[in-house]
Structures are given as C-alpha cells and as structure tokens.
C-alpha cells in the first residue's frame, strides 16, 4: 500500500508525469515551432526556445488587475498545471510504464482532462476583462463540442478492446492483437482523435478562445510573468498527455528490447503524431467561427467516432 503511494508520487513528480512530462513537453513545443517555421519557409527559433520563455517569464513581475479576484486569479494556473500533471502520470507508456494501478481508467482521465480547460475558464472569468469573458465562454463551448467525439472515441476503443476500461488493459489487448491503427474499423476513431487534438490544444481551426486578433488572447490576456509561465507549462504537459494518450489508444506497438529501446520509440511515435495533428494542422489552417467550430465537431469527428463505435460493437 505504502509502496503504491510512493509509486504514485514518483509518477506524478518525476516520471512519466512531473519533470519528465515538463521536459519533453517543452522540447516538443520547441520542435513544433521549428516544424511550423519550416512549413512557412522560416528558420524558426532554437529548439530550447520554450525553456528560455519560461526562464524569462519567471523574472518578470506579476500584475493582478485591480478588479480581479486575486486568489482565484493566482490559483487558476496552478490548478491547471496540477491537473495536467496528474493526467500525465495516469497515461501509461507501452513497455515503459503501466500506469498507477487502478487509476488509469479512461473515464477518470476524461474528467481530469477538463481541468486545464477549467483553469482557463476560471482564470478568464476572474480577470474581469470583457475579452477574458468572451474567451471563457468560447472555451466552454469548444470544450462541450470536443468532449462528445472524445467520449465516443474512448468508448469505441474500450469496446474494441473487449470492454476494457483501464488504459493498461487496452494496451495489453493491442499488444496481443495488433495496434488499432492497423484495424480498419478503428481508423475513423483515430481520425476523430486527430481532430480532437487541435480542438483541445486550441490551435488552427480551433484557436478560438485565445484568438489573438479577436479577443486579444482571451483568458490569458491579463496574466503576466510567472503565472503566464504556469499556463505555458500546463499547455506543454497537456500536449504530452494528448500525444501519450493517442499513442496508447491506437499505436502501443512494442519493439523487442527493454525500456531504453521503447522509451525513445514511444517519443518518436509521439513526435510523428504531433507533426501531423499539431504542426501541420497549425500551419495549414486558420480559425473558424465559434458556431462553425461547434458544428464541425458535431458533424465530422463525432460521426467518425460513432462509425467506429458501431463497428466495434457489431463485430465484437
């Protein structure tokens, strides 16, 4: 029992959550920026740029708007970072880490997943700026919109993996029966997941709550210095969670060899997923109107996920 707590503590603070998630998240963000720069015929920043940004932000002063609720304003980013770190600890990495026993349930994950978005909403509403308000209402709409296809996708995966609700069970099923990415029935669900990633990360078509040109970066408008750094860290960890989860759900392929082969292999898979779902998507699209985005999620990713769900259920 005590051992389990230590285990969980390590998972949240060092690996695969905590320091590891932060480090890889920032590094991936840097690679994403370089990839987008290349797509736009630019050289792009140094790969460690997100790290420099965090260091820089930590030296700046914190300004709290006069009309803001200071406690909520300051707690919101911490809550978001914590939430995403817990998520990072829960998602298993195939062949490396099997997750915290009894806690890797996809539904638990689904709830924890809304923490970062909720922290945006809290932060946006506490800052009492009209743009923060618009940003937070948009964040809510978008969150409702992408949770429907996400739920359907997770269900489809669970059904296909013989009603497994825990993530390590899903991974184990795939290790035995081949990854879902190569399974024709699950490809629609994978596509739905691909569209969910930009939705939850707020990029490309779905860069709506933080639209710089419309609502001046929305919820994070009033944040400065270390608090903004926390939001940046949160988004870096969240990126890792989404990527890890994507790999766990659809492609937990193992290579022969131990952890030192499979960890880099896992990161390569994450990188590939990011380049397609984040970098390419960010470089090739602009944003939609909020109503268009809502309809988009209800139409395409949802129906794709339902197709898989139905297929998985019928062919069970």
């Amino acid at each position: 029992m005590v051992n389990d707590y230590i285990h969980a503590g390590i998972a949240m603070l060092i690996f695969p959550g905590g320091l590891f998630a932060l480090a890889t998240g920032l590094l991936f963000k840097g690679m994403d920026r370089i990839a987008v720069a290349r797509l736009q015929r630019r050289v792009g920043p140094p790969m460690l740029q997100p790290v420099f940004d965090i260091i820089k932000l930590s030296t700046k002063e914190i300004l709290v708007p006069e009309s803001a609720n200071e406690t909520v304003f300051k707690l919101a980013p911490m809550m978001g970072l914590m939430g995403s770190l817990v998520c990072a600890a829960l998602v298993p990495i195939a062949g490396v880490w099997n997750g915290i026993p009894g806690a890797g349930d996809i539904f638990v994950l689904l709830y924890l997943f809304s923490l970062p978005a909720l922290s945006f909403i809290l932060g946006g509403s506490s800052s009492s700026s009209p743009f923060g308000a618009i940003g937070f209402s948009r964040e809510m709409v978008i969150m409702f919109a992408y949770e429907i296809p996400l739920l359907a996708t997770l269900l489809a995966v669970a059904v296909r993996a013989d009603w497994q609700l825990s993530l390590d069970g899903i991974i184990a099923y795939q290790t035995a029966n081949g990854p879902f990415l190569l399974d024709p029935i699950m490809i629609p669900a994978f596509l739905a997941y691909l569209m969910f990633i930009p939705g939850t990360m707020g990029i490309g078509l779905f860069d709506i709550p933080e639209a710089e040109e419309e609502v001046i970066e929305g919820p994070v408008l009033e944040y400065s210095g270390p608090l903004l750094a926390l939001f940046n860290l949160m988004s870096a960890v969240k990126l890792m969670v989404v990527l890890n989860l994507g790999v766990a759900l659809f492609f937990p392929l193992l290579l022969p060899g131990g952890i030192w082969v499979n960890l880099p292999f896992h990161l390569v898979k994450c990188l590939a997923l990011m380049l397609v779902a984040v970098s390419l998507f960010r470089a090739s699209t602009g944003r939609l109107r909020i109503d268009q985005a809502f309809n988009f999620f209800l139409k395409y990713p949802s129906s794709l996920a339902y197709v898989s769900l139905l297929g998985a259920y019928l062919l069970r």
């Binding site: 987008v36 009209p130 618009i134 860069d207 710089e212 040109e213 419309e214 001046i216 699209t285 268009q292």
Partner: protein, 360 residues
C-alpha cells in the same frame, strides 16, 4: 440574452492603427456599433498651411504609408493644375509606375492581414513573402520600402535606366505566377471561403447612398474607377479593366483587390514598354499663382481628392484632401449589422481602413 458592450481598440492587435469601436454584443452577435475617431488626428491640414509647397510634398506623403504615393502625386497634380504646368511625357508614365507598385503592395497587405485576422498565419506569411518582391522593387528603384518619394512638383524625382529596367522586368515576371496562385487560393480555399463568404454585406443601394469609393464600391458592383472615369498621368494611354464583383461581401472586396493587384503588374509592364525617352522634371521652379484647383486620383483604397486654394504666397491658403477611407467608415454600420464577434476584425479590415488617412 443580456446585452453588454466591449471595446475594440484603440490599441488593439487586429487594428494596425488606433481606432476605437464600442460594440454592443448579445451573446456572440453584434447589435450596435459606435465609431469613435481621432486618435491619429495630427492636425496635418493646419501643418500644411504652415509649410511651403515643397515641404508639403513630403508632408502629404507622411499622411499614410500604405497609399503614400497617391497623396504627394495628387497634391502635385493639384499644384500643377493651379500653376498650369504640363508634366513631361516620361514623368506621366513614371507616375503610373509608382502608383501601381504601391497599389500592388497595399492590396496584398490588405488581403494578407485578412488571412492574419482569420488566424491563417501561413497564408499571411506567404502573401507577405510575395509582397516582398514588390518591396524589393520599391527599395531598389525608389530607395524606401514604404515612402517612395517619387513625386515633385512638375514631374518625378527618379528615373529608370537600363539596369533598373531589367531588374524591374525580372521582378515583375517573378510576381506573376505567385499572384495567380494567391488569387486561386483566396477564391477556392474552403477555409477562407467559409469565413469570408456572405459576411459584411453592403448592398449596392446602400453603397450608392453612402457614396463609398474604391474596392468597397466595386465589390458592391459599382464600376467607378477614377483611372477610367477621369484619367490622370498616363492612364488614358494604358489598358486595364475596372474590376467589379456583385456579391458585396468581404470575399468580393478581397477578390477585387487581388485582381487589381494583378492588373498593376501588367500596367507597369505596359509603362516600361511604352515610356518615351526624355526629361522627368521641368528645369525650372514652379510659379504658383492665386486661385483654386482640384485634383483626383484612384488610390489603392479608392477616390482621393485634393482641393487647393492659393493666395499667391509660397504656402497654401488652404489645402484639403478627402481620403477614400473617410467615405467608407459609415458603411460599417450596415456591414456589421448582426454579425458575429469573430467577424468584426474581418469586416473592419475589408474596407481596408486607413485611419491615419482619415484623421490626418
């Protein structure tokens, strides 16, 4: 649903310049709009009365950098009309060239910013990269990327020699393909279309009533172009079409601008082909008699009119100009009726607002 109002500007990222809008919002829908101007009011008309006719060439050029050639050019035309100066034939063509390169760059900047407002940054960067070819022309031929300083009273200050001509021809040739590609992208790209089609409609009836000018009017189907109706410089010697669209939305205005930018390339090439040899500026300083005169030109944003009143001294008695954007602001009330918050910057950008021009 409750109505609340949000401020847009005056220092707002989507606006290149400070302008203040108060927008009444219901949910995400715009219910009311109040425009409050004056943040860039620099008192230039009074400055123009304190400067002599030469200094005013540079002063009018600093009105606005996006149409920075149209202003001194039209100002010089007004002075020339007043003083009865006939500018050399070669200078007429050189003025057209300066006008068109600015039109090309200005229109590209506008459609680029449109892509930027919908968050399509890669497209924006691509447009700006194409525009760099035009910027290189401006820097290489005229010496500055924004303010060409091409005009002086009685002619132009610059000339084109063989080396510059071949540089110009290669640059213009290089511009053609990316321009066509850009036009196709703006016309066909599903995302751009999804955001711009049917947004910010200004029916022809209202366009006539409000007296809008330039691509905003032409986007609403009014075929009015000063270059065609009241030609100046060498435009009566050159062939081009007056571009119009009938859908009267944000997209039509962008397409009109892009087509005019493509026309600008051909106009410049025609100039290079037809330009006669000769002087570019008369060899005497002008005499400016008392009297009044009017000159008009088609700036990238539409009709620009200068009224000059002289009392015979070396400074104007009154110099007044009306810029195209000045006429287009009020149309925003109609365009923005019941639009969404996300469309506000898009619609404002579609009239290609030049605030420094408007407020002087």
């Amino acid at each position: 649903m409750a109505t609340y109002s949000i401020p847009v500007g005056p220092l707002h990222v989507a606006l290149e310049e400070p302008m203040y809008f108060r927008v009444d919002i219901e949910g995400e829908t715009v219910k009311g709009l109040e425009i409050s101007a004056g943040h860039v009011h620099r008192g230039m008309e009074s400055l123009a009365l304190q400067r002599n006719y030469f200094q005013n060439i540079t002063l009018t050029e600093r009105l606005c950098s996006l149409c920075s050639n149209s202003h001194p050019c039209t100002y010089c035309m007004a002075v020339e009309n007043l003083a009865g100066i006939d500018i050399p034939e070669r200078a007429r063509y050189l003025r057209v060239m300066a006008d068109e390169i600015k039109r090309l760059a200005s229109n590209l900047f506008n459609v680029g910013i449109m892509a930027h407002t919908i968050g399509f940054n890669s497209l924006f960067m691509h447009v700006m990269e194409v525009r760099e070819l035009a910027q290189d022309i401006k820097e290489g031929v005229y010496g500055n990327r924004m303010d060409l300083a091409a005009n002086c009273i009685g002619g132009v200050k610059y000339d084109i020699d063989d080396e510059i001509e071949s540089f110009l021809r290669t640059q213009l040739k290089e511009l053609k393909r990316p321009m066509d590609e850009l036009y196709r992208t703006y016309e066909k790209d599903p995302l751009v279309t999804a955001r711009t089609k049917g947004i910010g409609i200004l029916p022809e009836k209202d366009a006539i009533r409000l007296g809008v000018v330039g691509p905003v009017a032409r986007g609403s189907g009014i075929a009015y172009d000063i270059r065609d109706k009241a030609p100046y410089s060498a435009y009566d010697q050159l062939s081009f079409t007056v571009q119009t669209e009938t859908e009267a939305d944000v997209r039509s205005r962008a397409l009109v601008r892009l087509r005019e930018a493509i026309d600008a390339i051909s106009l410049m090439e025609q100039c290079l082909d037809r330009m006669p040899k000769g002087p570019t500026v008369p060899d005497c300083l002008p005499d400016i008699p008392p009297g009044q005169s009017v000159a008009r030109s088609e700036a990238p944003r539409g009709e620009l009119i200068y009224y000059l009143k002289s009392d015979g001294t070396d400074r104007p008695q009154r110099l007044k100009w009306r810029v195209p954007t000045y006429m287009n602001w009020e149309a925003l009330h109609i365009m923005m009726n019941n639009c969404k918050i996300s469309d506000i910057p898009l619609i404002i950008n579609s009239i290609d607002p030049c605030i420094s021009c408007t407020e002087r």
